[in-house]
Symmetry: C2
Subunit: 431 residues, 2 copies
Amino acid sequence: MDTSEFRKRGKEMVDYIADYYDQLDTRQVYPDVEPGYLRHLIPDSAPQEPESFEDVLKDVERIIMPGVTHWHSPYFFAYFPTASSFPALLADVLSGGIGCIGFSWGSASEATLVTLLAARTKMIRRVQSENPELTEADIMSRLVAYASDQAHSSVERAGLIGGVMIKNIPSDDKFAVRGSALKKVLHEDRAAGLIPFFFCATLGTTPCCSFDRLLELGPICNRETIWMHVDAAYAGSAFICPEFRYLLNGVEFADSFNFNPHKWLLVNFDCSALWVKKRSDLTSAFKLDPLYLQHCHQDSGNSSFRSLKMWFVFRMYGIKGLQEYIRKHVKLSHEFENLVHQDERFEICAEVTLGLVCFRLKASNELNEALLKSINESRKIHLVPCHLREKFVLRFAICSRTVESFHVQFAWKHISKLATDLLKAQEQPQQ
Amino acid sequence: MDTSEFRKRGKEMVDYIADYYDQLDTRQVYPDVEPGYLRHLIPDSAPQEPESFEDVLKDVERIIMPGVTHWHSPYFFAYFPTASSFPALLADVLSGGIGCIGFSWGSASEATLVTLLAARTKMIRRVQSENPELTEADIMSRLVAYASDQAHSSVERAGLIGGVMIKNIPSDDKFAVRGSALKKVLHEDRAAGLIPFFFCATLGTTPCCSFDRLLELGPICNRETIWMHVDAAYAGSAFICPEFRYLLNGVEFADSFNFNPHKWLLVNFDCSALWVKKRSDLTSAFKLDPLYLQHCHQDSGNSSFRSLKMWFVFRMYGIKGLQEYIRKHVKLSHEFENLVHQDERFEICAEVTLGLVCFRLKASNELNEALLKSINESRKIHLVPCHLREKFVLRFAICSRTVESFHVQFAWKHISKLATDLLKAQEQPQQ
C-alpha cells in the first residue's frame, strides 16, 4: 500500500469509524459468541500472498465485530468509562503516523508499581545508612506496604512483584480509610518489628468510588516517613471541576499522584499521568545508563508523544467543555440513583459522588447474582458486579461519551422489568 | 466535534499523514531545538473555550514538528527500526475507534520482567517445598539471574525491580554467550551457596546484534532447572525468513520467548508477543481475582485488540511481502558493510547478520566520538553509538520502511566526507 492508496483507504476507514459511532446504539452491547469462536473463522496461518483491503475490512464486519464488547455503546455501564473522543482519535492517527517513540507514560497499575519500588529503594537506603550491618534481604523481609481493603488488585500485585508484604487497612462504613485505622495497624506492625514504607491511598475506589481521607492519612504518613501514593485513576479527571476538589484536600502530603485521562477525560487509551514530589526518588531507583539510551538531554523530562492526544483534547474541548462532560456524567448517575431510590425493592449501597451507582435488590446475594445474569444475558445493557463487605452488588457506571438521560431511563426500566420477572419466578413453586 | 465533522477532519488528517510520508525525506531527520523550546511556544494552561481543529493543526506544523525526531525518515539509522506501515495504521485507527480494552500485550522489557518474576516464584516454591524451614526472604537473598554482558539494560532493571541479584555472563569474541561461560559462573555460584534460577538469552543484542548460543545454553538451563527466557526483541521478526532460522536452533529448550513485531515486522508501536512453555507458571505467579475483573472465560487467553494491527499487516503484506521486507533490509546493511570494508580508514566491529552494521574509524575513541558528533550535528542522518568492550562504536541500523540503496549510499558518502574533514583537521597544528 503506497501513500495514494493510504489516502483512499484511510478515508474509507474514517467513514467506517464515523458510521460505527452513528449506529453504535443499534449494535448489541455485549457479544453472544463463545471464546474460541474465531478459531474456526480464520485460517490457521497467515496468507503467503497479500490480500486486498476490501477483503480484510469485510472480515472485520463478518467475523471480528460479532466478538466485540462495545465499550462506547451508550448501553455500556460496566467497569468505569474508557475515554474516547474524536480529537483524541485524530491525534492518535497523527502520533501513530509520525510513529515517534517515547518512554515515560504508563497505566495506573504501573504507576503504583513504580512508586512502590521507588519507595522500597528509598527505605532500604535509609535503614541501611542507620544500620549498616543489615543486608538488603534482611530489610526487604521486614518491609510492609498498605492500602485500603477497597483498593484495586494492582496494589496487591505491585507488592507481589516487589517482593514485599502488603496489608489491607480496614475501611469505615463509607468504605474510606481513616487515619485512626492506619494508626492502629502501624502501631501493631512497628511493635512486631516490621518497617512500614508505603501507603497507597485511593480516591475513587473501583468497587464503589469511595475516597480515602487524605487530610487524616497524609500527616501520619509524613510523620512516619511512609511514602503516600494517591491512586485517583478514575476520579482524578473529575478534579477539573472545582466542586469536586474538596475530595483532594490533603493531597499536599502525597509523595506521588496518578490519574488516567484515558478513563474519564476523553483521551483515548492509553494515557496515564504520574506526578512525583521528588523526581530523583524515581530516577535514582531505576537509573541505568547504557550508551545507546543516553541522550544529551535525558533528564529534561520529555514525555511520549501520547501527550499529543491530551493536547488535542484540551484544546478542542477547552476546560469548560471537559467540565461540562464530567458534570453531565455525574448528573446522569444521580438520575439513576433517584430511580433506584424510588423503587422500594432496591437499595443504594454506597454514597454516589461521581459517575458510579452501587445498588442491589433488598434480597439474597443469589437473587442479585441472578438479576445481573439476566441483565447481561439479555444483551441490552452491560454491567459488572462487585462485593461490598459480604454483599453482592451491581455497579452502574456512566461510561459512554454519548450516553444520555434516555439511555439511563431505558436501562432502569429494563433492570426493573427483569427484577419483576425474577421476583415473580421466585414466588412460583418449583416445578 | 460530531461524526460529520470527524468525517471531514479525519480525512484531512489522513491527507496530512500521507503528505508527511511523501515528503519525509525532505524533513531534517533530527531536530535543532533544545529541550524546553516548547515551553515558550505554548500557553501555561489549557484554554477555557474550545479551539478549532484548524488552529490546532496549524500549531502542529508550527511548533510541534520542529521538535520531532523523524524515526521513519530514510535517513534515520539510529537504535533499531520502529515499525510503521499503512495497514497497521489503518488497523490502529479502527482499534482506537472501537476503543475496546484488553490486557495482555506488553513490551520486551515487560516480558523479561514478567518471566523473571514467574521464574522467581517458581523457584521460591520449589526450594520451600524441599526446605520448609527457609523463609521467602532467605531464599530471595540467594537467588541469582544471568544475562549476557551484551544484554539490554531492561534485564538488569528487571532484577532490580524483582529484588534479585543479576550477573553478567562474559560473551565471547563474537559477543555471544557460550555454554562454557555459563557453566563456569554456575559452578562458582553454586559453590558460594547461591541459587541460580533465570537466564535471559538474547538473540540479536542491542549493541551489535549478536546471538547467544541456545543449543549450548538450553540443555544446561534445563538440567539445572534454570528458566531460560529468550529475548529476540529485534531479531525475532527476521525468523519469518527460513534462511535466518538457524539462529533459533535450541529454542526448544526455552521456557519463554519474546519478540517485538513493533520493531521490524511493520506493526506500529506497540505490539510485543510473549510465548511461554507452561502458561500456568505465569498465571499462578500473578493470580489475583477481584470480582470486577472476573470474566466467565478469563482463562481462555484473549489478547488485546492490538492484535488487530498484526492481523491487518499479515493479511495485507502476506508472508511473502514480510519476508521480502526483511530481506531488503538485510541486503541494505550488507551494502553498507561493503562500503565500509572498501575504506581502509574504517573497520567493521561485529559480524553483520541482520540489519545492523557496527563500525568505527581505526582511531581513538575520541576521534570516533567526534565523528558521531559531527554526523548528528549536521542533521542529515541520525545514528547512535554503543560500546563494544572498550571501544566506542557507531551503529548503522537499517530502520525506515522506505529506505533504499540511494539513502544508504548517500549516508556513506556523507559519513566518509565528515571523516575526511575530521582527519584533515587533526593533521593541522592546533591554533
